[in-house]
């Protein structure tokens, strides 16, 4: 039973990582460029939202089983407070930090229509911190001794980094539009 929980925790961790990377890429697609077809933007926006929400379910499963199983010592406190685990405190701590950021991003997105856009945006941008933190946590803890799992982690890392570098140089047409309008001045 304990072994089963341990494997369940690892499996949900890997699935979370894939979903996180997918959600990140979809989100950057949305903010980086306007699709020529409104239907595409709509599908991307919907997938970003629902895959992100689905990921939270897997992450909660991952954290819960990591605490419940007693194969390694990770206490309930480690779910929210980083670097408190008995087992690999540093690398588990990275996972805790990622989980804290994820909770903040998820809650502010759920309340997006009730909080200020600036707060939502600031917290949402922390996703760029969440992704590498979670990936390093996954690579060093769960997947480094399994060739197949390591391949998944590395693939997520490569895809995510390509997407981030694309996002850095991408300019959204709306931003361009606003800039050109501002440049015209008030005559």
């Amino acid at each position: 039973m304990n072994e089963l929980l341990w494997y369940f925790s690892r499996a949900t961790g890997v699935i979370s990582m894939v979903l996180l990377t997918t959600t990140l890429v979809l989100g950057m697609t949305l903010s980086g460029r306007r699709s020529a077809r409104p239907a595409t933007s709509t599908v991307v926006a919907g997938l970003h939202r629902w895959l992100g929400l689905g990921m939270v379910v897997f992450v909660v499963g991952h954290v819960t089983t990591a605490i419940v199983e007693t194969y390694v010592s990770i206490g309930p406190l480690s779910a929210l407070v980083p670097f408190t685990a008995g087992y690999q405190p540093l690398w588990v701590g990275l996972g805790t930090i990622a989980f804290d950021i994820l909770l903040a991003v998820a809650v502010t997105s759920a309340l997006r229509h009730r909080i200020s856009e600036r707060v939502w945006r600031g917290v949402h941008l922390a996703s760029y911190l969440l992704w590498p933190t979670a990936l390093v946590h996954g690579f060093l803890l769960g997947t480094s001794d399994q060739p197949l799992l390591r391949l998944v982690t590395v693939a997520c890392g490569v895809v995510g980094m390509l997407a981030v570098s694309w996002r850095i140089q991408a300019t959204h047409h709306d931003r361009e539009h606003r800039r050109s309008v501002t440049a015209q001045g008030w005559s």
Partner: protein, 72 residues
Amino acid sequence: MPASREQATRVAVDRVACTGHGVCAALLPRQITLDEWGYPIVAAADDPAVDVEAAVRLCPARALRPSRAPRQ
């Protein structure tokens, strides 16, 4: 009081917030068409309330809010 979401069959667009992704036009084809730059043009027509709710939720710029058709 804002219009309750169940009954809202129209949207109001916050034009300052709008970033022109076109999600509203895809979900609310009766009342929204896009101009040549991709920004919404709102017509006096109704779409199903479920679609209005989905559009308000999915708008990437949070530029939509539900509104009701004006009383005759």
